[in-house]
């Protein structure tokens, strides 16, 4: 299985939004807390739909929540 090149700022965004808990974010994004934990730790790359839902919760563009590391990808080639 390939390395996860997707990084995220969910921890910081939660902190900036009145220290929103993982459970609150999970409820708003309609997923379980376990999924938010996995995404935050970089253990799981969410579907495009879920990524948009999370961005919508924080009311920010998608690229501010998630970013793709192109350098690591090109190093492999």
């Amino acid at each position: 299985m390939g390395k996860n090149h997707l990084s995220n700022n969910i921890r910081r965004l939660r902190f900036d939004n009145d220290e929103m808990t993982q459970q609150e974010l999970a409820d708003k994004a309609k997923v379980t807390r376990q999924t938010i934990v996995a995404i935050e730790k970089g253990k799981y790359s969410p579907s495009l739909e879920l990524a948009f839902r999370i961005a919508h919760v924080f009311n920010t563009p998608l690229e501010e929540v998630f970013s793709y590391n192109l350098e690591e990808d090109s190093d492999k080639k």
Binding site: Q23, K30, T32, T35, A38
Partner: protein, 148 residues
């Protein structure tokens, strides 16, 4: 440890316990003292067929008990639905389990070709079903721990 991980561990332990208890029950009530079971197709088919509903009912009851116990003992909000991560993990675990089942099924059939008795084939069937259940649970625990 998350609720999903605990659920998978309970499922694994319950699978192992159900298999052991059912095997012991069959051995002490049906097999013990009997002879000429090696070619008794009816007997072995009945044992395997009864195993399916026993496994399903026992697992449902254990899961209900687990939910009730978790509700009263855990501070964590229990998820009442499966999201995309849960479904993905469930599918990958089922895939691993099906691979094992297919290979073991072929091996079970091969025992007859290799000249073993029907009893050997049915015992391999029993191991195939039990192994597939256990591999499904172990895969779920592994995928929840590791992530992907």
């Amino acid at each position: 440890m998350s609720f999903q991980e605990r659920k998978s561990i309970v499922s694994l332990i319950s699978s192992i316990l159900i298999i052991i208890i059912y095997s012991a029950y069959v051995y002490f009530t049906d097999i013990s003292g009997k002879i000429n079971l090696a070619d008794d197709l009816y007997f072995w088919a009945k044992i395997i067929l009864i195993f399916f509903p026993v496994m399903i009912v026992a697992k449902i009851l254990i899961h209900i008990a687990f939910y009730i116990v978790s509700h009263f003992t855990s501070d964590e909000k229990l998820p009442d639905f499966e999201d995309e991560l849960d479904k993905l993990i469930e599918m990958k675990a089922a895939r691993n389990s099906h691979y094992f089942f297919m290979l073991s099924f072929i091996f079970s059939i091969s025992t007859i070709v290799m000249g073993f008795t029907p009893m050997a084939m049915f015992l391999c069937f029993a191991l195939t079903i039990s192994g597939a259940c256990i591999i499904n649970d172990i895969s779920q625990i592994y995928l929840y721990k590791r992530g992907f």
